[in-house]
Structure formats: structure tokens, C-alpha cells
């Protein structure tokens, strides 16, 4: 590098050779720079997208190889009662988890957006949940909610509530998973809302207060609209993650009891890597993709109407 700088800087006359022109061209450098990264993404991202589309029209068999079955996998999907249940559980979970996390994050971020004693401790406690993996989180919560020895049942007994079966109960398991994932994502929501709150200009709040608005009105009419871009981001981001729930279910209930926590991705995993129905699993994957696309599109469509952008 240094040599070439010196040569050109030295005012060496004449045109560069064809070879050097090529090596210095945008064409050559463009391809040289993008090739390694793009190769990885094509091989492990783009090719699999097409491949799994092809797989979804095939029946996989270990011995005889794959055979084309047309739309059979998709037809099976429509009539599979477990898929129906899985969609229902996924949507119930998402409908509880997303607003729950956003509300918890908003409340804590508003409370933390001020200089009071111990604020660093409060903030660090919230951030710490971001450092814990879904697996650690799930194991701790299985223990907290253990039906026989769990401390939550102990707390319940202290206030006169009967012992619950929690993750062993078909009617409660999904809600325990909602609780543990809200806990795990609160730190993330707090960080997003705190960053957005710090962008709210103090002058606007003061102006509203001078005009006679109480704190609640200022929050409703000034702060909340200014936070709406962050809220839209969180709603979309949390929803995409919620629709892909897997880790906590795999660890705590394996979809049980009685399929009560079978969500789409868990069923997909089970079909793909326990039953080795790659074709059917690919069809479920594309179906999941469709659901994510539709819900995200709706969120952006609604969001654009109610989101307030300052610029």
C-alpha cells in the first residue's frame, strides 16, 4: 500500500497498465469486496429459501428419496387439527406477550426517565434481563413455578390461593410461558422506550404544563404521541419474535400437556427433526412466513395511521 502511494505521489508519469486499471476498477473491487459475505448469505440464506419451497411440494422418505406430491402437504396442513391448535396458541400467546411487554417496558421507562436516588441500580436490574439466555430464563421459571416445590405456590399458599399445577396444567401452561417471556423481554422494551424518551424535547413538556395540562394529560397528549415510532417498532419486533416462540416451549413443556403449548414453530421442529417430515415441515414454515408477513403488514398499515413522526 505504502509503495503504491509513494509511486503515484512521486509524480510518476504515464498511464497505469491495464492490469492495474482492472485491479483498481469499481467493477473488480465491488465484486471482490462483496463475494465472501454474499457467498455465505446466498448459500445459507437465499438458496434455502428456494429449496424449502421445493421441499414443501415433496414427500420426504429416507429410503426411496423425495417424491413430488404437488399440493398434498398444504392440503394436509389445512386439515391437520394440531396446526389449527398451534395457530390458536401462537396467536393467544402473541396477543398477551406483545402488549404485556410493551406496557411493562413503557411504565418502567417512564419511571426511570428521571434523576432520582438509586436510578442506576433500577436501570441495571432491568438491563440485566437482557443478558440472560432464553434457556437460563426458562429453567429458572420452571423452578419458580414448580407445582410441588415452587416458591410461587408457596407465595400463593401465604395469601390463601390453592396450589396450582402451572406448567403441568393444560389451562395454565401457556400463561406461565407468557409470564416468563415478558420477564425476559422487559429489559429490551425498557431500553427502547428510554432511548425514545430521551429524544422527547423538554421544552414541549414545559410548554404543555404552562398551558395548564396536568402530568397525565401531558403524558397522554405529548409524550405518548412522540413515543409512537418506538411503540410501532416494538410492536412489530416483539410480534415477529412471539410468532417464532420456541426455546421456552421446548425446554418447559415440549408442547404439552395435551398439546396445550404446541405453538407453530414447536410443531414445525417436531415434524422436521423428530418425525423427519422435511416436506410437511417446509410447508408449515412457509405458512408461518405468510402469517408473519400478513400480521407485520397490518401493523405497518395501522401504525402509519397512528404513528406521529416529528420530522
Amino acid at each position: 500500500m505504502a509503495a503504491s502511494v509513494a509511486r503515484v505521489g512521486g509524480g510518476r508519469p504515464g498511464r497505469p497498465t491495464a492490469m492495474r486499471r482492472l485491479l483498481d476498477s469499481e467493477q473488480f473491487n465491488g465484486w471482490a469486496f462483496v463475494t465472501p459475505g454474499v457467498a455465505v448469505i446466498l448459500l445459507f440464506g437465499a438458496v434455502p429459501i428456494v429449496w424449502s419451497a421445493v421441499l414443501s411440494f415433496q414427500k420426504s422418505a429416507l429410503v426411496t428419496g423425495n417424491t413430488s406430491t404437488g399440493l398434498a402437504n398444504y392440503r394436509q396442513l389445512v386439515h391437520d387439527p394440531v396446526v389449527g391448535e398451534a395457530i390458536q396458541h401462537t396467536l393467544i400467546y402473541t396477543a398477551l406477550f406483545v402488549p404485556g411487554t410493551m406496557l411493562a417496558g413503557l411504565l418502567l421507562a417512564v419511571a426511570m426517565n428521571r434523576k432520582i436516588r438509586g436510578i442506576t441500580i433500577y436501570r441495571t436490574a432491568a438491563y440485566a434481563t437482557m443478558a440472560i439466555s432464553t434457556i437460563s430464563e426458562a429453567i429458572v421459571f420452571i423452578w419458580l413455578f414448580d407445582p410441588s416445590y415452587g416458591i410461587v405456590n408457596y407465595a400463593f399458599s401465604k395469601v390463601g390461593i390453592a396450589q396450582q399445577q402451572f406448567l403441568n396444567s393444560p389451562s395454565e401452561a401457556l400463561y406461565v410461558i407468557v409470564a416468563m417471556t415478558i420477564w425476559g423481554w422487559t429489559g429490551f422494551a425498557v431500553v427502547i422506550y428510554l432511548a425514545a424518551l430521551q429524544g422527547v424535547p423538554q421544552t414541549l413538556l414545559e410548554a404543555a404544563a404552562i398551558d395548564g395540562a396536568g402530568p397525565w394529560r401531558v403524558f397522554r397528549k405529548v409524550t405518548l404521541p412522540l413515543l409512537s415510532p418506538a411503540s410501532l417498532f416494538l410492536a412489530v419486533w416483539l410480534t415477529i419474535n412471539a410468532l417464532q416462540l420456541f426455546d421456552e416451549v421446548y425446554l418447559s413443556t415440549q408442547g404439552g400437556p395435551l398439546n396445550a403449548t404446541t405453538v407453530l414453530v414447536y410443531y414445525l421442529y417436531d415434524q422436521a427433526f423428530e418425525q423427519f417430515n422435511f416436506g410437511y415441515a417446509s410447508a408449515i414454515a412457509y405458512f408461518l412466513f405468510l402469517i408473519i408477513l400478513v400480521i407485520t403488514a397490518i401493523q405497518f398499515w395501522v401504525g402509519r395511521r397512528i404513528t406521529f413522526y416529528r420530522s
Binding site: 438458496v47 429524544g199 417464532q244
Partner: protein
């Protein structure tokens, strides 16, 4: 001028505060927000605390109802028992190798590609970039089955080190991400062209310009990408679950999940293992807290 106007403004503001009825009404010696923050913090921290307490109890104390809130004797042997039952050090080393290598690969590959997409005009640029953006939208579940087949094939026919059941299989598919390329390209496009052009006039090669001129300006951006990639890699579970089955190639989340499956009633050992897999990340997190928080906030602000 300034000397007279500054006190005047200060005076105005304090008068303002006194007029505000909501401030005068407060007579608590501390902010009422503590009533929200203190219980919330207890809820946020209690799982960590209970995890630690259980990890120091004996088996009979852990399996006791009502729960033993304070262990009679601190049993550190749970930790050595857990270490004897599962190679947590190995899991940790695997996790660290995978996460650090993935971060380094991403920094290099995404910088190169992101810069080329931002600055160079070359045949097929638009089409390639469109394909990369398309992969960004597709969830991992759609690609994981072919990714598994491809990885298996690579291990058999190309290089065992990146095949199924080797930690290389956890690195290679994530060595570059569409998000990283997109993120850095957006940043590079905001930089003024003048520095790069003047370096080019001075005869620097395109790679020199990138390394010497552009990268120093991109340090905060690269730190953000590094922090996010690290968190993703460290916490990844589904792909390791599919790609790795032998214990000595497992990362911490997978190793911990397997340990839980084998010892699901020995809660004191399980919690000791859980504490050991949490501690490294908590330490990294607290040291680099500013970077992690800023990085997560940056994704939010970029999204809005």
C-alpha cells in the same frame, strides 16, 4: 449581555417551578416513583436471587415444601457436582469460540460488502442487494431445513470442521448476516465523500481508503454490530440444537438444556449449572453495558 441574561433566565425558571402546582403538592422525602420502581426491581431481580439461593442448598432443602428460604449450610459442592456431571467449562469455551469468531467474521465480511454496496458501481449490484434484503425478511424456520442439509453435505464432502456436529457448523452460516451488511451500508452512505476522494487522489487503493479513512469513522457503528452479533450468537439455541448432538461440541444454552433433561429433579445442581452459565455473560454485560444498551437502543431508533 450574557452576564445579565443568564441570571434572568435562571430566575424565570425557578419562578416557573414554584408556580407549578404539581411540584408544590409533593411532600414525600423521596420521589413517589420509587413505589413503582422498587417492586418492579424486586420482580426483575428475584429470579436471579432465587436461582443463586437454590444453587447453594442441599438436595433435601431444595425439594422441600414450604421452600427453604435461607439454606442452613452453604453447599458449594453443588458447583463441583454440576461440573462433574456436565462439562460446563467446555460449553463455555465452545460458546466463546463460536461467539467471538462469528463477531470477527461479521465485522470483516459485512464491512467489505457493506462498503462495496454503498460506494462502488458494479454489474449486478442492485440485484444482489435485493436478494440480500429478501433474506432479511424471511424467518430462520423457513431456511433451517435446507441449511441443515447443506451443512451436512459440506461436512461430508468439503470440510468436516464445518459439518454437522462440529462447532464450525455454528459459525459458518452466521459468518455474514444480511442485517450486518444492510446496517453498515446505511452508515457508509451517510459519510461525506470528500475524505475518501482526496485519499484516492493521493493514490491510496480502495482497500486502503476503507481501512485507513472509513473504518476509524465507523468505530461506534462496528461496536454496535459487534454487541448485537455477540448477543445473538451467545443466546442462539435452535440452530445448535439441530446442528450439534455430541456433548463436547455443545454451546452453553444447548449444554444447559441437555443437562436439565438429564437431571430434572436435582434442582440444586441444575441451578448451580445455570449460575455458572449465566455468570460469564453477566460479567461481559456489566463491563460493556453501555455498548449493549446503546446498540439495542440504536436498532430501535433505526427502526423508527
Amino acid at each position: 449581555m450574557t452576564a445579565t441574561s443568564a441570571p434572568a433566565r435562571g430566575g424565570l425558571r425557578s419562578a416557573d417551578q414554584d408556580l407549578n402546582p404539581h411540584r408544590r403538592r409533593r411532600r414525600l422525602p423521596f420521589s413517589p416513583w420509587h413505589f413503582v420502581l422498587l417492586p418492579a426491581t424486586v420482580v426483575l431481580l428475584f429470579p436471579f436471587l432465587w436461582l443463586l439461593v437454590t444453587s447453594l442448598e442441599t438436595q433435601s432443602e431444595a425439594l422441600h415444601f414450604p421452600p427453604v428460604l435461607i439454606p442452613h449450610t452453604i453447599r458449594f459442592a453443588n458447583y463441583s457436582d454440576a461440573l462433574a456431571a456436565a462439562p460446563f467449562v467446555r460449553f463455555f469455551v465452545n460458546s466463546a469460540v463460536v461467539a467471538v469468531t462469528t463477531v470477527l467474521c461479521n465485522l470483516v465480511l459485512c464491512t467489505l460488502a457493506g462498503y462495496a454496496f454503498a460506494r462502488f458501481r458494479f454489474l449486478g449490484r442492485t440485484a444482489l442487494f435485493a436478494v440480500i434484503m429478501a433474506t432479511l425478511m424471511v424467518p430462520f424456520q423457513v431456511t433451517m431445513i435446507p441449511q441443515f442439509i447443506i451443512t451436512k453435505w459440506l461436512g461430508v464432502h468439503v470440510l468436516a470442521g464445518v459439518g454437522i456436529n462440529h462447532i464450525g457448523a455454528l459459525i459458518l452460516p452466521n459468518a455474514a448476516t444480511a442485517f450486518g451488511i444492510f446496517f453498515l451500508r446505511q452508515f457508509f452512505r451517510t459519510l461525506p465523500l470528500e475524505y475518501e476522494e482526496s485519499a484516492r487522489v493521493d493514490g491510496a487503493s480502495r482497500l486502503t481508503v476503507l481501512v485507513r479513512i472509513v473504518l476509524p469513522l465507523a468505530t461506534p457503528c462496528l461496536a454496535t454490530l459487534a454487541a448485537l452479533t455477540f448477543l445473538d450468537s451467545w443466546n442462539n439455541f435452535l440452530w445448535p440444537l439441530i446442528a450439534v448432538t455430541s456433548t463436547n461440541q455443545m454451546t452453553l444454552p444447548l449444554g444447559l438444556a441437555t443437562f436439565q433433561g438429564a437431571h430434572d429433579t436435582e434442582w440444586n445442581l441444575l441451578m448451580a449449572g445455570n449460575v455458572m452459565s449465566l455468570i460469564p455473560m453477566l460479567i461481559v454485560f456489566f463491563i460493556a453495558q453501555r455498548y449493549f444498551v446503546r446498540s439495542v437502543a440504536a436498532t430501535g431508533l433505526a427502526g423508527t
